[in-house]
Amino acid sequence: MIELFTEQPIISALIALGGLAAVFGAVLGFAAIKFKVEGDPLVEQIDELLPQTQCGQCGYPGCRPYAQAIVDGDPINKCPPGGHTTIAALANLLDVEAPALDEEHGEESEVKKVAYIREDECIGCTKCIQACPVDAILGAAKQMHTVIVSECTGCDLCVEPCPVDCIDMLPIETGIAGWKWDMPAPAHIIASDKIPHSADASTTKQEDAA
């Protein structure tokens, strides 16, 4: 036996490699079945990054369906409420280049908005309640409705169904609690980098010196 191997190095090498391939193949196959992951974890991860406004501006009925669509190959730039931050996060997760927001689906709004119902105009038709994807509108038939502002995602899906047009999208008032420190402005070391008027000032100084 050993003689055969020593005399036929090519065959013995082939046998050894083939045997190893068979063993590892079996191990991998077993692992694939035993440790199979249920569902697509990527959908969960993408859904985590989406802003959960459930506004449907991407063309899908909610954030999760869009997450699924992204996994299936849809572009990642269809989410106006998330804006460039969400696109950047998605690009980071999927390891692709971050594209610009697809304006077709809406523009990224600078300020966050929430729906407000002009309550004296509300006729209590419950149409907005049915439209709200996150149950943020309170009311009953023939009773005044109101928006639970803290739960409103600002998706504006309730605006269109209102028959008396009494829903406004108003920017959230941030107040002192929502105030944030600004990042320092970038420094301008080189005179020509400076903003025009200060650049003028420095040039005059130089002239003075001259």
Partner: protein
């Protein structure tokens, strides 16, 4: 001498403390207007409890705390509330916030306050309530409500109480002056706080060695008490809570945890002083010692100033040369912030008003690129890597910032101070921190939205599923009802089947009637036994059916089965009787023809018996006649004839007895049969249930006493009347043409009801 530890990093900026600590704490003229922000502390803003135009007394509660982490606010002097509105407040944003504006009347009229000579006699909860009620929040700068810290969780045993008299920030001397002038009260306050915290084993007061006068007075005051004064070398920022803990105890507070988790509570000396005043004299926190300093002022000193005093008023009292001032800083040069408006008021946390001249705080030179010198890392008292944090802050890599413990940064500014490139590092950290907080809040909100969205989806799906299930159930029920109706239709034929069986029976009987070779006597006995058992079965069935009908008239299925049983029993009885009768007939008339038997069989057993009795009677009379004739003629057959008559007489007697018995039996049987038949017919119709109910009601009424009956009648009348009235009202509303008919109906019912009532009264 206690061992003191050193902290990592730290810097030694010029102390600049001598210009303000040379003279005693002064006071200034009352401002014309006091502005008291509703949020002077960390936590929820308090809510105003006064309205515009109210006159308030000094120390009166004007805004109460909202929630646990909050503090009430009191009027700093007596006067009138002139407005509750948005005013600029001391905040780096320069924004406005809700404030109560008070116009002092100059009378300084105190509200009634209750002093307490011996706090040890009070419950701890009462003392805590006093401290909380006095609105005391941390006086060092952060403004955390003091009562919260003094009420640690039951599982956290506090072993060390530290009073922070470090005051490491340049320029500020408010705590220094307070310790110099109110050492006894601070020590009393320390003992009070220690009492609240179940007397920790160590009560320490940490003071930097650049305040020798304060150290001396505090040591004198602390003599013969449990309080120990700990003096340690001056270094910025020793006064940070976590830094001070490390210096005086050698322990480090874990990242993200509170000092209470390692059994330590730190309070500012000013807070201890205020707590003492609140408990001993009942004085709420309405004024504080503030350092007024800066080269743009003619007079630099510490003043005790009522809360709400606008900074402009204070500065004017100190000879402020606005044109010379670079800016206005609340707090020290390291951690303070610039305010835009000099109208902002002094609040509970304002320990210093710095109004430097332009020479004093030159413009920050432009930032240059980071050269990775590492000086910031050496200076950082929290042992962070400021250059890395700066790098990640610039690239907005919040994940990495978190990993590098950005939130352990105390924003002391030591890194910016040492940076050779003049990078405003702290500003980057602050901005990143607020950005991360906003992202976290958004994340929380989006998670909540996701939960709500999914819950809604699940709810809608469930509703759909329920609807579908109901639809399917209705379909099945309809099918079942159809099948049941078919079955009932099939059941409707028992009479037909009964007739067929009776004809079959007749055939059988006819065959049985044919002479058999069995012993007639045993056959007769057998048939009689069968009849009696069939009769008893029938009786039992009748009894159970009547019971069932009385007790549970709605249980149609059961009643039906009982009825079927009764029918069977009846058939059996009939069969047995017929058998018996036919057998007897066969025995009696040897010459009986099949036709006669058939005729007999078609007639009822009673008739048969009657007939047999009649025939026997006839035969008896003929026999007697024959006997009389024979006697008269004197024939020799007289004896035989007499025997025959006697026998016939005997037969007649038994037959007659049988007839009487049979009559009794058949009468009950026929009654039951008619009842059962009628019942059965009713179950076929839809009205069956109603009839059954009516029957049950009738039966119940039969059981009811007279008065009960009348009462029931009365209630039914009343309900009918109300219904009739409703109908009338509806008709009136709709202007129905039958309105008169409705009205008459109601009137009639009313009369009837009145009659019934009278009846009841009479009977009662």
């Amino acid at each position: 001498m206690r061992k003191v530890w050193d902290i990592h990093g730290g810097v030694h900026p010029p102390e600049s403390k001598t210009q303000s600590n040379h003279c005693a704490i002064a006071s200034i003229e009352l401002a014309e207007e006091l502005v008291l922000p509703l949020s002077q502390h960390i936590g929820a803003p308090s809510t105003a409890v006064v309205t515009v135009g109210d006159r308030v007394l000094k120390g009166q509660l004007i805004a109460e705390a909202q929630g646990l982490i909050s503090a009430p606010i009191h009027a700093s002097t007596s006067g009138t509330v002139t407005a509750i509105e948005q005013r600029p407040i001391a905040h780096p944003s320069g924004m406005t916030a809700d404030c109560i504006v008070l116009k002092p009347d100059g009378l300084e009229e105190w509200i009634e306050i209750d002093a307490c000579n011996d706090y040890k006699a009070l419950e701890k909860t009462e003392i805590l309530a006093k401290i909380r009620g006095a609105g005391i929040s941390g006086m060092g700068g952060a403004g955390f409500p003091a009562a919260v810290k003094l009420n640690p969780r039951p599982n956290q045993k506090i072993t060390t109480l530290i009073l922070n008299g470090t005051e490491c920030e340049p320029y500020i001397t408010a705590d220094d002056m307070l310790m110099r002038e109110h050492a006894n009260e601070i020590i009393a306050g320390a003992l009070l706080l220690a009492h609240l915290l179940d007397n920790p084993s160590e009560i320490l007061v940490g003071i930097e060695d650049n305040k020798p006068e304060a150290i001396a007075t505090m040591q004198a005051a602390a003599e013969n008490t449990a309080v120990e004064i700990v003096v340690f070398p001056t270094k910025y920022p020793s006064g940070g809570e976590k830094q001070l803990i490390e210096i005086v105890t050698g322990k480090q507070v874990p990242s993200g945890a509170l000092p209470a988790s390692i059994g330590i509570v730190v309070q500012n000396v000013g807070s201890a002083f205020a707590a003492w005043r609140a408990v001993r004299f009942g004085e709420p926190l309405i004024s504080r010692v503030t350092t007024v300093v800066g080269e743009s002022l003619a007079l630099q000193r510490n003043i005790e100033v009522p809360l709400g005093t606008p900074i402009q008023h204070i500065l004017q009292q100190h000879g402020w040369q606005q044109e010379n001032a670079a800016r206005l800083i609340i707090g020290g040069p390291m951690m303070g912030y610039t305010v835009e408006s000099p109208l902002v008021p002094v609040v509970k946390t304002t320990n210093c008003i710095l109004a430097p001249s332009r020479q004093e705080v030159p413009e920050q030179p432009p930032a240059q690129p980071c050269i990775r010198c590492g000086m910031c890392a050496e200076a950082c008292p929290a042992s962070l890597l400021p250059q890395q944090l700066f790098w990640f802050a610039q690239s907005e890599n919040y994940e990495k910032l978190r990993e590098h413990d950005l939130f352990d940064c105390i924003e002391c500014g030591a890194c910016s101070y040492v940076c050779p490139s003049n990078i405003p590092l702290v500003q980057y950290y602050r901005a990143s921190k607020s950005e991360i907080r906003i992202i976290d809040a958004d994340k929380q909100k989006s998670d909540r939205a996701r939960v709500r969205f999914e819950a809604r989806k699940a709810r809608i799906e469930q509703a759909e599923a329920e609807k579908e299930a109901k639809r399917v159930a209705r379909k099945i029920a309809a099918e079942q009802a159809k099948r049941l109706a078919d079955e009932k239709k099939a059941l409707a034929g028992p009479q037909g089947t009964a007739t067929t069986t009776s004809s079959e029976l007749a055939d059988k009987a006819s065959t049985a009637a044919k002479p058999t070779d069995v012993d007639p006597a045993t056959e007769l006995a057998k048939l009689e036994r069968a009849l009696s058992s069939a009769q008893s079965r029938q009786e039992r069935a009748t009894a159970s059916l009547t019971d069932m009908q009385r007790e549970d008239p709605d249980n149609t299925a059961r009643i039906e089965s009982l009825q079927a049983r009764l029918k069977q029993a009846q058939l059996k009885v009939n069969e047995a009787e017929q058998k018996l009768g036919s057998f007897k007939a066969a025995q009696n008339s040897v010459v009986a023809t099949e036709t006669i038997i058939k005729q007999k069989l078609t007639s009822s057993p009673l008739e048969q018996l009657q007939k047999s009795v009649d025939t026997i009677g006839k035969r008896l009379t003929t026999a007697r006649q024959k006997l009389a004739e024979a006697e008269a003629a004197g024939t020799p057959t007289v004896e035989a004839l007499r025997q025959g008559v006697a026998k016939l007489q005997q037969k007649l007697d038994t037959s007659e007895r049988e007839l009487v018995e049979a009559k009794a039996a058949t009468s009950t049987a026929s009654e039951v049969a008619t009842e059962v038949n009628s019942d059965h017919n009713k179950t076929l119709s839809a009205a069956d249930i109603a009839i059954e109910k009516a029957k049950a009601k009738a039966a119940a009424q039969a059981n009811m006493s007279d008065t009960e009956k009348r009462a029931a009648q009365l209630t039914s009348l009343q309900s009918r009347l109300t219904k009739a009235r409703e109908r009338l009202a509806k008709a009136e509303a709709e202007n129905n043409e039958n309105i008169d008919a409705f009205r008459i109906g109601v009137e009639k019912l009313e009369v009837k009801l009145a009659e019934a009532k009278e009846d009841v009264k009479e009977k009662a």
